[in-house]
């Protein structure tokens, strides 16, 4: 079953199953900066507070 179910014929279906849906990607469309330092610098320039989201593993990578 493992072999038969991944083939050229089923490739697109499995790709669409695994990769993120538009809804799952929503949060990535916000203008995130990728480091704490970049966030502090941009916050100073914009005169805005910084919202820092920090996880075990980068939130845009493997957490």
């Amino acid at each position: 079953m493992l072999v038969e179910s991944l083939s050229t014929a089923t490739f697109a279906a499995w790709r669409d199953y695994i990769r993120l849906t538009a809804t799952e990607r929503d949060w990535t469309r916000l203008p995130w900066l990728m480091t704490f330092n970049a966030g502090l610098a941009a916050a100073a320039k914009a005169k805005k507070p910084l919202l820092l989201w920090t996880m075990n593993g980068h939130p845009f990578g493997c957490t």
Partner: protein, 321 residues
């Protein structure tokens, strides 16, 4: 929530490096002095987990100078929104001058992302549990995770046969095979895990078409890896085996991949054991990994693969930009 977040500059980062490991105090006693890490530790020490040892993960609100305003570790939108409101209320109390004061120095002295092979092959992976009935039309399982997989320019070339003619086959060098199967074909769907110590199998590419400078490759292979985690309590299956299938297009003139799609479809198994203090029954999980080119970023900053420090190649240990 989106209206609320517009009042902030948004940043995301990896906490373990920022907090200097398990205990920020030990980090400093051992000479740790990265300004970005110190700035975070000073700020997060006033946050929800306090200044002691242990993970400081969560969502923080701070001033541009790095002064703490509010924080929480929650995935509940309502709780996060309340925390953001608290942070904004404290922000409004500050003087105009205080709001624009930048951090004294938060420039990092090292980040793994500086090792990024800008002219190499940078793959992004998504992994997700698959349905037990092996039917891709089944309802999508909602847990997923991401990771990355990097190859230098020279390594990227090693996906191609020496002679790029239709029908030519090529086995991926062992170093690259091990990198894919040990570090990325792992069960990190529910969170970071350890790499396997060794994997068996192979990955083969075959030229299916040559269109001018562009070589089209079919990628096939199989992997099998077994081994228990060295750190007790960390979730990791006893083994994973997978089948791989994909297609890639390489431009010989530019020396880069124009497209790359690869699926690994596999199964992970875990024997009965005690995990996190609880008895666990034997488990079998179907897992899928989808690899594709990482979209180009304007700022040129690419989040690093989780296990980059274990790649064992000189370019992955670059310490300067």
């Amino acid at each position: 929530m989106q209206k609320l977040t517009k009042q902030f500059v948004l940043a995301a980062d990896e906490v373990w490096r920022l907090q200097g490991g398990f205990d920020p105090k030990v980090y400093r006693e051992r000479g740790g002095a990265d300004p970005e890490c110190i700035a975070f530790q000073d700020m997060a020490g006033d946050g929800h987990y306090g200044p002691g040892a242990g993970s400081k993960q969560g969502i923080y609100v701070c001033t541009p100078s790095g002064d703490f305003l509010a924080s929480i570790n929650s995935s509940r939108p309502r709780n996060v929104a309340k925390m953001l409101e608290r942070g904004l209320a404290k922000w409004r109390e500050l003087s105009v001058k205080a709001k624009g004061v930048p951090a004294k120095s938060a420039k990092p002295t090292h980040r793994f992302e500086w090792s990024c092979p800008k002219d190499g092959l940078r793959l992004a992976s998504t992994l997700r549990y698959l349905p037990a009935n092996h039917d891709p039309k089944s309802r999508r399982k909602t847990e997923y995770n991401h990771d990355f997989l990097w190859f230098s320019r020279k390594e990227a070339r090693q996906f191609l046969p020496k002679k790029a003619s239709v029908g030519a086959k090529h086995t991926l060098p062992e170093l690259l095979f091990q990198r894919i199967s040990r570090f990325n074909i792992v069960d990190a769907v529910r969170g970071e895990t350890r790499p396997f110590r060794k994997a068996e199998g192979s990955i083969t590419t075959e030229v299916t078409a040559v269109q001018g400078d562009v070589v089209v490759l079919r990628v096939t292979g199989s992997t099998k890896a077994e081994g228990r985690p060295r750190r007790p309590g960390l979730y990791m299956p006893d083994g994973i085996k997978s089948q791989l299938l994909g297609e890639a297009r390489f431009d010989r003139e530019k020396g880069e991949f124009l497209s790359f799609e690869l699926i690994a479809k596999g199964v992970g198994w875990m024997h009965p054991r005690r995990f996190a203090g609880a008895a666990r029954r034997a488990q079998v999980r179907n897992i899928g990994w989808y690899f594709t080119l990482t979209p180009k970023r304007e700022d040129g900053f690419y989040v690093s693969p989780t296990h980059l420090s274990s790649y064992g190649v000189p370019w992955s240990r670059r310490t300067r930009r």
